[in-house]
Subunit: 348 residues, 2 copies
């Protein structure tokens, strides 16, 4: 398989991207890597050209660039050229650690939506601390600020496929992030989405989940509107970081006692920190496009980049996209019927 790589996106690009690609090349023998990037910067970094091809580009989309504009104007940027390669069928998947909005735009407008999917969404695997499996799928992380009930419903389908194919979870359960467990909770969008999901034969819906229970492992897929999904994810990250920092400070303030205690508990802290650091395990995936598009954190180092290549390999190997496409093709009528019933119910 071939992966098109935006070698210039990310805080430590191209250095950490190239280093990660070389680790992945040595690890996965069936992947060919197409690097899109500025020749003068990328070429000197490559140590071994086995299964690595460099396609020189002249522009770079910066982290602060306005996403849609950047995607439209910087036609010879590493990101756009990599996306065009996927669109043309010269590569099977797209990878970037760059501007998230621009990558979303490239995914939707260049790689293209799967027919029948209204809004591709950002998904990631988060650690689960109580469930049967180590991880669960959380989406949308913020691709769509204004979500409609039918989008949330479609996320349930996309997330279920990702959970079964990539996380190897049989008949994944799905919950809807809402502000209460009862089915009449939430705003109009979530009330309607709940009814739509409840009646769906497409996945195993278990009802609402509150953000308090997000990491408890009570569902294999948690579907959220992009706005509150983003808020819940960021609140989780922020709280975890803040607590580690606070505990560190309290340990430092406790003098010798803290020093000894801290040293003894270091492995225990490392374990918790490692489990929480979901970015190391792979990237956030844009689900609903015609090929896998995966984004690692802007600050990703080589190991995270290499792990993400493994994640992409699983997506391609397990036929994730063709399987989603086939399911949606076979159920178009049904999905449209659900959508129509919904339009009658609401004025959205």
């Amino acid at each position: 398989m071939k992966i098109a790589i935006d070698a210039m996106g990310g805080d430590f690009a191209p250095f950490e991207i190239i280093k990660g690609v070389e680790i992945a090349r040595d690890r996965y023998k069936d992947i060919e890597f197409q690097l899109y990037g500025t020749e003068g910067e990328v070429k000197p970094l490559i140590q071994n050209w086995e299964r690595i091809e460099l396609i020189p580009t002249t522009e770079v989309i910066a982290m602060g660039d306005e996403p849609v504009k950047a995607m439209r104007r910087k036609k010879d940027s590493s990101m756009v050229r990599a996306a065009m390669a996927v669109k043309a069928g010269r590569a099977d998947a797209l990878f970037s650690a760059g501007n998230t909005g621009a990558l979303l735009s490239s995914a939707i407008f260049l790689v293209g939506r799967i027919k029948g999917v209204d809004r591709p969404a950002l998904a990631t695997a988060l650690p689960s601390f109580g469930g049967k499996y180590d991880h669960f799928v959380f989406m949308d992380l913020g691709a769509n600020a204004d979500s409609k009930p039918v989008h949330l419903y479609q996320y349930g389908i996309l997330g279920s496929f990702y959970a079964s194919h990539v996380l190897k979870i049989d008949e994944p359960s799905v919950r809807l992030l809402n502000n209460g467990a009862e089915e009449d909770k939430g705003d109009e969008v979530h009330k309607t989405a709940h009814q739509l999901m409840k009646n769906s034969p497409s996945f195993n819906f278990l009802g609402n989940i509150e953000a308090r229970d997000l990491l408890d492992g009570t569902a294999d897929v948690v579907v959220a509107d992009g706005f509150s999904g983003n808020a819940a994810l960021k609140a989780t990250e922020g709280t975890a970081l803040m607590m580690l920092k606070q505990i560190k400070q309290s340990i430092l303030a406790a003098g010798l006692r803290g020093k000894i205690g801290g040293a003894l508990l270091k492995p225990a802290f490392k374990e918790v920190q490692k489990k929480l650091d979901y970015n190391e395990a792979g990237g956030a995936v844009i689900l609903g496009t015609k090929a896998p598009v995966v984004k690692t954190h802007g600050s990703a180092k080589a190991t995270a980049v290499a792990n993400t290549m493994g994640q992409i390999k699983i997506m391609v190997d397990t036929q994730l996209i063709p399987d989603i496409q086939q399911y949606i093709n076979a159920h178009t009528e049904e999905l449209r019927a659900g959508n129509d019933a919904l339009s009658e119910q609401t004025n959205d």
Copy 2:
């Protein structure tokens, strides 16, 4: 001053409520307590009747009751009777640890909205770990699932008054919880709210804040729509609890080493846990009603109940409600103008 108390609401009512009231009675010499509750249950618990009056009621609103229905039908419930006392001017404030939705309904429909406030909202003081002050005001926590821009704008006013009067913060700064720092971020509601708040002379607006930075103390008031505010608060609580649990488990799993390290660090952990346990400091306040209405956690014990009485005392002593009322009366034209300008901009 007189506080009307729903003695039957909460997981440990009436026992912990009465115990808390007696602590508060001994602590605050100028408060008179009106207890609304089932005579047979409440009377035997009271040890000293000084400044305590029992008004017998025959019904109780349960935690699982449908809020509006319960408020309408259980006219002789401890909560409704306490709310009616405030409405009639026989008490200055309302306290309950019971059904949040029913208390919200009682606050809005019985105690009544301040004229000019469209939607009263739930606010709480959360710990701030980096700012100039120990706490900041976070609202709406979920009173309104469907917020419009003008509601968010009004929360900015209400939250600023609460911060200055109760938290003693001079010229409090206000931020809007959004999915990005730039002013064009978010859905239509948040984009419009941002513009409205940016141009407001009513408070000191510093722009958007992401949920990741919520506890960092970069604002004295953080305004959120009730849906994502609820999600961010619950994600924060859930993550903090989960981390403490995980660290405990890792310590237990580390055998003797963990045991010694854990014992040495116990004071440090306690410190972090104490700062996080914002429920101990007081209750969540419904802002925008004609009198203070305060709700403690359902699982509140006597100390939290007593502390909440202190919080109510500050609200009454500092004239929080009259000051809000006066400000809104004096600025009705201006607020309406902002609202109208907004209606022209959007189709909401």
